[in-house]
Structures are given as C-alpha cells and as structure tokens.
Amino acid sequence: MLSRTAADLYWMSRYLERAENMARMLDVSYSLSLMPQDGRGDGLDELAMPLLITGTLDHYLACHGQLNAERMLHFFALDEGNSASLFNCLRLARSNAHAVRGRITSDMWENINAAWLEMRGIAEQGLGRYGISRFCEWVKERSHLFRGATVGTIMRSDAYRFIRLGTFIERADNTLRLLDARHELLGEESENLDDRSARAYYQWSALLRALSSFEAFAEIYRGSPRTAKVAELLLLRADVPRSLRACLVELQQILASLPGENGRPAQRLASELDAGLRYTSIDEVLEIGLHDWITAYVEQIGRLGSAIHSSYLEAA
C-alpha cells in the first residue's frame, strides 16, 4: 500500500477517534459543571478542563479574555478557528477520507461525508439550539456508525490495519489524558486512596461513564469507584476496550501482522510496551505516582506514534 494512502487512513481514524473522545470528555465536563460546586460554584473550572487537556486554553483566553460557559463550549465544539475543536477534528477526518476515498468502501465514505455535511449544518445552527449533550451524543454515534461501517465492509488488508492503528494510538493517548486530568482535578482528595466523599464518587463515575466503562467497573469490582480501582481498570485491564492495555494488545498485534522489514522499530516498541503492561500491577503504578506514571506513558505512546510514522507512513 502507498505510504501516503496509509498515512491518510491512519490520520482519518485518529481524528475521528479524537473527536469521539473529546465529545466524551466534553459531555462529562458539562454534566459535572451542572452539579453543586465547592468554592466558586459556577462550574467554570470544570468547563475549562477540556481546553486545558487539549492545550487550547491559552488560545481561548487570547480570543475571548475570560472564562465564559457558553463561549468555552462553542470554542471547544464548533469554533473553526480552534484547530482542536470537534468541528475541525471531523473536518480533518473527512478530508483524509476524501483523499483516499478510492481505498475505503463507499459505505464508509458516504458515512463520513454525511457526518461532515451534518456537522456543517449544526455549526450554522449553533450549539444553543442543538444542545450540548445531544451534540456530544451525536458525535459519538457518528463515530460508532463509521466504525461499524468499517468493520462491516472493508477488506481485511493493510488498509484495515492502518485504520485500526490510528484508532488505538489515539485512544491509548486519550484515555491516559482523561484519567490524568480527572485525577488532577480531584487534587488532594485523590491522594487519599480510600476517599469515600460524594465528590470523588461523582468524579470517578462520570469518567467511567464517559469511557463507557461504568458497567464494566460495577461488574468487576462491585463497589464504589476509587482511585486505585479506576486506574487499574483503565490502565491494566485487557478486557475493557478503552483501557490502555487493550489498546496496546491491539497495537502490538496489528504491527506484528504488517508485511515488510522496515517496521521493526515500531514492532519492537509495541511489543515491549505490551509486555511491560502485562506484568505491571496497580500498586507499582501508584508507588511511582499516578500522574508521573501517566506522563511517562503518554511519552511512550508518542514515541510509538513516531516509530509508526518513520517505519510506514514516510517510508521509502
């Protein structure tokens, strides 16, 4: 497969996965911002979090000056000038799909093109009329639909593999960042690993719901969500599809199945990371400190992404 085609497929699915995860995050922040807050009580810290995670808070402040609920939501969801907005994630995903529309099935292409056309309609209408929760649900649903069309129609060739590589690299990164941010926001409370406060409960369960893992948590742990258990679920459980471990299992297998000799560095790194995670316990993670451990791991995922780029996407 052409390296450029592989790159377009990879980034198509990365951007779509990013849109989905950002929508999940936005939904959580929005619903938490509606809860009674400690201190200021306006929920603005909560709403600023998506901007903080995506590194766009400074850009927002430069454009709008102060924190304002409606403006922040619009900036994050629909602002064309914000390169990390959901609007732009979908635009880029669709633009990559357009470049390789001959290599994806027409079901896939029509699906993502329809999503983009609808996104433009929503952007014209504005979030106010559409409703932020409904919008986040819609983004998630479009991502599910596209993945369904992909799994259901595309041949199991390298094209499929590069699409999935993009999905899991992005998801691994996003899951780490979401966990980290939520942990940071809890602050000192999260250091108390046995924290039974209502706030900790709502924070963790909102995160689990955002990552569609609430039911899994309830089934596995049969108790209230606490830092250690939530971290274990989202980092180390191979059977939870949005966990770091699950992403690495996929990444390692996909990379191992790609033909050619030039992929060795990426293949080796993925195998190392996969093996490392398999034999890590949550106690070891907490000993290092959750934030430090995640920060180091985000870098590893970045290295794996670069290795994929130099091995396949910029090859020959």
Partner: protein, 470 residues
Amino acid sequence: MDRVFYDEMHDAHGACRPHYQAFSAWLSDTPSDVLAQRRREADLLFHRAGITFTLYGDEQGTERLIPFDTIPRSIPMSEWRTVERGCIQRVQALNLFLADLYHEQRILKAGVIPPEQVLANEGYQPAMQGLNLHRDTYAHIAGVDLVRDGDGTYYVLEDNLRTPSGVSYMLEDRKMMMRLFPELFAAQRIAPINHYPNLLLETLKHSSPLDNPCVVVMTPGRFNSAFFEHAFLSREMGVELVEGADLFVRDEHVYMRTTAGARQVDVIYRRLDDAFLDPLAFNPDSALGVPGLLSAYRAGNLVLANAIGTGVADDKSIYPFVPDMIRFYLDEEPILANVPTWQCRKPDELSHVLAHLPELVVKETQGSGGYGMLVGPAASAAEIEAFRARLKANPGAYIAQPTLSLSTCPTFVENGIAPRHIDLRPFVLSGRETRLVPGGLTRVALREGSLVVNSSQGGGTKDTWIVEDC
C-alpha cells in the same frame, strides 16, 4: 433569426419518436409528485456520495454537485452503430497521425497538413520524436464530443486526446437511474455500460508489453476539479491512486513508495497535463510531477496513458485536418462530419470571421472547458467588441465555427419540463483493439437557450441510453 432545433424525443410534428415511446408512456403515467420526490432523492444521494467537482477560480475550492437530470437521452441502436464506427475510425486515424508525426511525418511531406501548423504547435513535443510506443498507441483514452444540427446529423465538435474527463458521471448517472427507476430498465432493453472500468483496465494492461504490468492512476491531488473521477476509476479498477510525491525514479525505472518499501510501476494512467509530469523536462515549477519521469519513459520502462504529446492532435487548429487524416491513413471517407471551421490565422478567413462575429462561435485553439470562448448570438455588443480586439491582436490563437443549433432534449426545469441543448461524449479506448461502451456522457445546458454544456459553466448531465430499435 428563427433556428430549427432537432428534438431528441419528438419529431417535427410533435409526435414521440419510436425509441422514446416506452419512456414517454411511463413519464405521463407517473404522478409529478413522485417524479419530484425521486429527483430530490437523487440530489441527496449524489450529495451524500460526494460526487462532486471543484470549480477553478473558486478561492474556497468548494465542492459542487453537477446537476443531474432524470430524463434520459436516448439513442436507437442502429443510429449508435454509425456513431460508434465513426468514433473508432476517427481515433484510429488520430493515433496513426501521432505515430506518423513523431516518426516519418509522411503526412507533412505529402503536403496534407502544413508543417508549421504542427511543428510550431504548443502541443507538439519534440521529446517524443523517434520514440517507439507499444502498439503505436498514443491516445489510449479519447473523448469525442458530438453535437447534432437542426436535421439531426451528428458532427464532431472536438476530439479530447489529453485527459478527457466525465466518464465517472456517465457511470454514476446510470447507477442513479437504475436505483431510482428500476421499472424503466425492465420495460426496455438498454445497453449496459457498467463494464467500462473493466475495459479501461484491460486497455491499460495491453498498453504495456509486460504480461501483468503494475498499473496506477495518477492524480494532481484532491483539490483537482476531477479528483472524484480519479479516485472512482482507481477504486473500480482496484489499482493505486498516486500523486507525484508518491513516485520516484531510480535507474530509469519508476517506483512508488509503499508501506512495504519501493514497488515498480509500469503503466501510469495520468490525469495531469504534459507540462506538469516531470519538472526536469517540462515546467520546472511543477510540484505535481516526478523528477526524471521522462527519462524512464524514453528508456521504454514506463507507459504513460495517454502518451506525451497527444495534445498536438486535438488542438483546434489541427481539428480541420482530421477528415484528411482519415482519408490519408485509412483510405476511407469520414463517417462523422466535422463542423465547418474558419481558421483565423488565414487572413481571408479572419476577415470573414470579423465580419460575422455576432453569428459565430469563436474559440481559443488551446482552450478547453468552455473558458475563453465567444458565443456570438448570446453575446452583448460590448462583449463582441471586446472579443474582436483580442481576436485581432492574436488571430492565430482562434478558430471560428457557425453557431450550431445543438439538438435539444426534454429536461426538468423550474416550471416543469422544457427542451434544453445537449451534446454527447463517448469514450474511446485503444488497446489491443479500438472500442467503446455503448453510450457516453450527455451534457445539458440548463439555462434556457444556452449552448454551453460545460459543467464549469453551469451544465448538467443526463443518463445516455442506447436502446434496441423498436
């Protein structure tokens, strides 16, 4: 001046022509709200499928839909047979002309075409001189534009031998009609065209002396006006769609960059002009091409479809000589007629043109896409005078033709159904044999009275049916 137009569906007395009767009966039986609903459905489907083109000069590069009309253009089989033979004859002669021109130049020596007409032409590529091509084929894919005058006679308006486009619309229009109105295809035998990509791939494979050559489609990129078509054809044929940056040349062979390393490419169906192919040989500013491509081509390690330098044969200043080429190379009389053409480079013909500008169509010899032309009867006095100045300044760059009364076909317009002017572009493939699928792209000028069918000028398309004679 009252003009007589040939109506494709009705004869001079208003009676429905036999090959349209099945359709006409269906049309009058189908309630208009059903028709309107199906038309909206078609728009939606085209939009969702992103069957679009990009307009040049549009800063935003907006993708637009080509308007699709649901009333088909229908041609009886017996009539089609003549058109088909005529197109094959013409493309064969043009390929023979190109092979002769780039080798012995017998036709110039025989005085049939003035040498300066050819050798000073911008489309003439000295780099092709003496180069032997497999099967002597230069134009593997040709689009022959046909129109019908008042009495229904077919005329060739121009030959497109560089990178003719539109075949994807021909195929998508048919798919759409079959999806919207399957009952019509049950009521009547309409010749199938869906195997075109298959024939195209065969043609491309046969263009190479290798047994199983690696074929790719080359596009200038996703912002090109015809990108949809490039992606469509590569997908239908199951071959890679490459851009210049995906290819490189090493030791006079062309390779593409793949995830598993370099892979040799043998045949390039290229959809960009000669000038952009190789920055070392042609336009040095081109970022679309592949440095060294021409060296691989000249070494015989690569087939380009179409070949470099075919533009000299579809230039409008060469067009008047095509009937002579047919006589010269094939020793046959042309089956399809040329439109009478005045060559403005000749002083006496120029003065005739200048005296009759309001009645004529004047075109740039190098132009295409309906840009830079004057349609006399439709132009204002000021437009004509502005054009007169340009024409006088550089007469060699123009030809003129009488304003043909293009045939009309009933078409859905805002207030119901009305006749609109159409043309026809069949696509001729030259591989082991010269052939075409039964049909072509019918373009329709949607503005009332307009004779310009180009999509860049607001034209639409129709499905084209070749039907068994009744």
